[in-house]
Amino acid sequence: MKNVKVLGSGCKKCQQTAQVIQDHAEKNGIEIEIEKVTDVAAIMGYGVMSTPGVVVDDVTVHAGSVPTEEQVKTFLARS
């Protein structure tokens, strides 16, 4: 089970990000739990200034945009 954190203050893009990841995981049978992090201090703690950001198992893998399907595939496949 991978822990995925979506970082962002609740904007539309953050919801889209969570959705893209959820869809990809379901389609490919990857087990994940998605957590939303909205606290700015916590987000900054992951080194993310531009939201939405994505953290997989405590490693920041993406920042600054809604990830593409391709990017989701890459960072969920890692580690």
Binding site: S9, G45, Y46, M49, S65
Partner: protein
């Protein structure tokens, strides 16, 4: 090219709708159609073009540009970068923390936050086509100077004591550079996404601004403002600044109002500071900044801007006379 919007407005107003030329209604409708078509066209075009180059101007990059520079240089860099960065007030807080955490003086950070909403490519291009490039240049230079001076004052009066304590404790270490798709298709998709997002966010302000501008243009007699807001009326400038404080709009949204007021003979200084006050001193922005700056600090910040704008207004009115 931009004359085509005037033709379009004339054709629609007088030929299609059959409204008589020179009537109040005709003037208003003409103004409304011309500004709506022109401003939304320019808005889309400029945001799209800027979106193509967005990856050079991420806040993370800007942080590395300013980091470690001497104070005086940092104010200048901060306002210049603030002016060219398309920036949503919703990212003020991460940006503020990110800058402070990198050791950038609070003054330079504030300079960035002052300049950014007032000056941006979209507002500059639209302002230039609507009120002329000479006045636009004056607007830009003033905005930059107020930003730099604000940054200097923040540091000089040690305003950093009003920054919330938790901000100083955040340690991000390595900041992750955003991943941008830099292929042509990727850039185009990103730019189009920006257009949809930004236009989606500000179109209500722009429409409202055009409607107010159109009403002023058609229905307010030319003598009205000359009587109450002429340059020798000393309270017109402070009144413009104070009335701008509770009002909030995106810079682009104020432009049609600016255009109409200038057309009615309101002096340039008064109009410019009304615009600055509406754009730069805003309650939504302050509510967001409250997360990192204590109330007292925000009061000082707003007062500083108000005083600076009043000064700017008097100066320009005096220069214009």
């Amino acid at each position: 090219m931009l004359e085509s919007f005037t033709w379009l407005a004339s054709w629609l107003t007088y030929d299609v709708f059959g409204i008589e030329t020179g009537t109040k209604l005709g003037n208003s409708i003409h103004f409304f159609i011309e500004d709506t078509s022109k401003i939304f066209f320019l808005l889309t075009l400029i945001i799209f073009v800027m979106g193509l180059f967005r990856s050079i101007l991420s806040p993370e990059k800007i942080r590395t540009y300013i980091e470690g520079k001497p104070k005086t240089v940092s104010y200048f860099l901060a306002v210049s970068l603030g002016a060219v960065t398309p920036f949503c007030s919703c990212s003020s807080v991460p940006l503020f923390i990110g800058f402070v955490e990198a050791g950038i003086p609070v003054g330079a950070t504030m300079a960035f936050l002052i300049a950014s909403p007032m000056i941006n490519e979209v507002a500059v291009v639209i302002l230039g086509t609507v009120i002329g490039w000479e006045l636009t240049l004056i607007y830009i230079i003033t905005g930059l100077l107020v930003g730099m001076f604000g940054g200097w004052a923040t540091d000089y009066f040690k305003m950093d004591r009003y920054v919330e304590d938790y901000v100083w404790k955040i340690k991000t270490g390595q900041v992750i550079q955003p991943t941008y798709d830099t292929t042509l298709i990727g850039r185009i998709l990103f730019a189009w996404g920006e257009v949809k997002e930004i236009v989606g966010r500000i179109w209500t302000y722009v429409f409202l601004g055009i409607a107010i501008g159109a009403a002023l243009h058609g229905y307010v007699p030319t003598g009205f403002f000359a009587e109450y807001a002429s340059a020798d009326n000393w309270f017109a400038v402070p009144l413009a600044v104070v009335s701008g404080i509770p009002l909030y709009s995106n810079a682009t949204g104020v432009i049609p109002v600016v255009e109409a007021l200038l057309g009615k003979g309101v002096p340039i200084g008064t109009v410019i500071v009304l615009m600055m006050s509406v754009v730069a001193i805003s309650i939504p922005e302050f509510v967001i900044l409250r997360k990192v700056i204590r109330i007292q600090g925000l009061v000082y910040f707003a007062s500083f801007l108000a005083i600076a704008f009043i000064f700017v207004g008097y100066l320009f009115n005096a220069l214009a006379m």
